[in-house]
């Protein structure tokens, strides 16, 4: 049955709508993989909306963009949004499905500008608890959010977006150069926290009682957990050493607290052993 030695391409001549129709019948995770079939399919998936505005518009533009996306017909509307704001800057939002979004804040044709931006230090405070439930955007029903390359310019926007996501279960923070202090205060269902390659992070304040999975890659920061977690898995990769010279082995106790009950634990380099040396 699998002879398939046909030379004519079954789908190349079909209109986008028809291809989208087939895709709409695929299960969610599987549908996205059709992007790898050929350049034509990639281009279908990578159709991008381009919008212009100011930094203040970002949240609303994103909300609108997310609302128009349809899980059951994912090729109907573009799943990528390029938003140019304040002239020189741009972010790229990519939807995986209506609950999963990637925000790359350093998407800019003018790379030089961005490199300058990443030099400045900033703090991020993600705060969402019952007393202070902002939720001005009901359509933000995201469960998984990837934040990439936030800079001091976009830290406020990022904070306000995250702080309005009361269904958030998984938060991934990647390559945020200049991020010095991160505070996460979530009383809701945040189960999974991943922080990768935020190389200047020195303070990590965790106030997240429901955390089940914690992954960190970078240099060891001061970790201040306010709860004792019962993690099901933890991956700590401190191969880059310490984030600052002042950390003593006793300061590592707090880090140990975060992982002490973890069912599965992966460690890369046990940093404080080295720190013990004078």
């Amino acid at each position: 049955m699998e002879k398939d030695n046909i030379t004519n391409d079954f789908v190349s001549n079909l209109p986008k709508e028809i291809l989208g129709h087939i895709v709409s019948f695929l299960p969610n995770e599987s549908s996205m993989e059709t992007i790898l079939i050929s350049t034509k399919w990639r281009d279908l998936w990578n159709e991008t909306i381009v919008r212009y505005g100011t930094k203040q518009d970002i949240t609303n533009v994103l909300a609108k963009f997310l609302t128009s996306f349809d899980d059951f017909d994912p090729l109907k509307h573009p799943r990528k949004l390029q938003f140019h704001y304040d002239q020189d800057y741009a972010l790229l939002a990519t939807i995986a499905n209506s609950t999963k979004l990637l925000l790359d804040f350093n998407f800019s044709p003018l790379k030089k500008e961005c490199n300058e931006n990443t030099q400045k230090h900033y703090e991020l405070q993600f705060k969402l608890n019952e007393e202070k439930k902002i939720s001005y955007n009901k359509c933000f029903s995201l469960k998984t959010l990837y934040l990439k390359s936030i800079s001091y310019l976009t830290s406020e926007v990022a904070s306000s977006i995250v702080s309005s996501l009361d269904h958030l279960e998984s938060l991934v923070i990647v390559s945020c150069n200049g991020l010095k202090s991160l505070s996460i205060d979530f009383n809701f269902e945040l189960h999974k926290l991943t922080i990768l390659d935020c190389l200047e992070l020195k303070w990590l304040h965790l106030k997240t009682s429901k955390l089940k999975s914690f992954q960190y890659r970078g240099s060891l920061p001061w970790i201040l957990p306010e709860f004792h977690f019962n993690l099901s898995d933890a991956i700590l990769d401190f191969r880059l050493g310490l984030s600052c010279g002042g950390i003593k082995s006793k300061d590592f106790d707090a880090t140990l607290l975060t992982i002490k009950n973890s069912q599965a634990l992966t460690l890369c380099r046990w940093t404080f052993e080295i720190n013990e040396m004078p």
């Binding site: 398939d4 391409d9 599987s30 790898l36 079939i37 990637l102």
Partner: protein, 176 residues
């Protein structure tokens, strides 16, 4: 009973007469085989029906150069069942069991060409079921698509895809 049928067919000027040889529609396959079908069947095929409407029902022989005499009977069978309201899960399962991958694709193209919404939906589901959770290589073979990525492009795309969508939610993938 006859009236009921004719009212259903009111878009066909020819439908006033009882079903007879003059009322049937002749569908001519790409390899010149004639299939005589009831007007109700033709009505299921939007492309055919609009052709009939355009000519005020005067022309009842419709050439379908894109559809072979091998595929057309399947299309007709599906439409007959559809009119009779007998499209069941069992029927569809039996129907699809008879078809190999090549035939599914050909029928899909036929359904698209003839604009038969129900059949198109059904076959989309069939194709989707056959490529779901399969490797990209398999899907390419299935569709007969050449991989036109450069190795670099493909690696980059895979990296993007892995970064963004997989490897982070192992729960979603365990089922694969």
């Amino acid at each position: 009973m006859a009236e009921e049928v004719s009212s259903q067919m009111n878009s066909l000027s020819i439908s006033e007469t009882n079903p007879s040889s003059s009322a049937t529609i002749s569908l001519v396959s790409g390899d010149d085989i004639v299939f005589k079908v009831e007007p109700t069947i033709a009505k299921e095929m939007e492309t055919v029906q609009s052709f009939i409407d355009e000519t005020d029902g005067k022309i009842t022989t419709i050439p379908l150069p894109n559809i072979s005499s091998h595929d057309l009977p399947y299309v007709i069978e599906y439409c007959e069942k559809s009119i009779a309201g007998k499209i069941t899960k069992e029927f569809e399962a039996e129907f699809v069991k008879k078809l190999n991958n090549e035939e599914v694709k050909e029928l899909f193209l036929a359904a698209n060409y003839l604009n038969i919404k129900k059949l198109l939906d059904f076959l989309s589901q069939v194709i989707a079921d056959r490529i779901a959770n399969k490797s990209v290589e398999y899907v390419r073979r299935y569709f007969g698509i050449e991989n036109d990525f450069t190795p670099e492009e493909e690696a980059k795309l895979r990296e993007e895809l892995a970064w963004t969508f997989t490897g982070v939610d192992p729960d979603d993938e365990d089922e694969n």
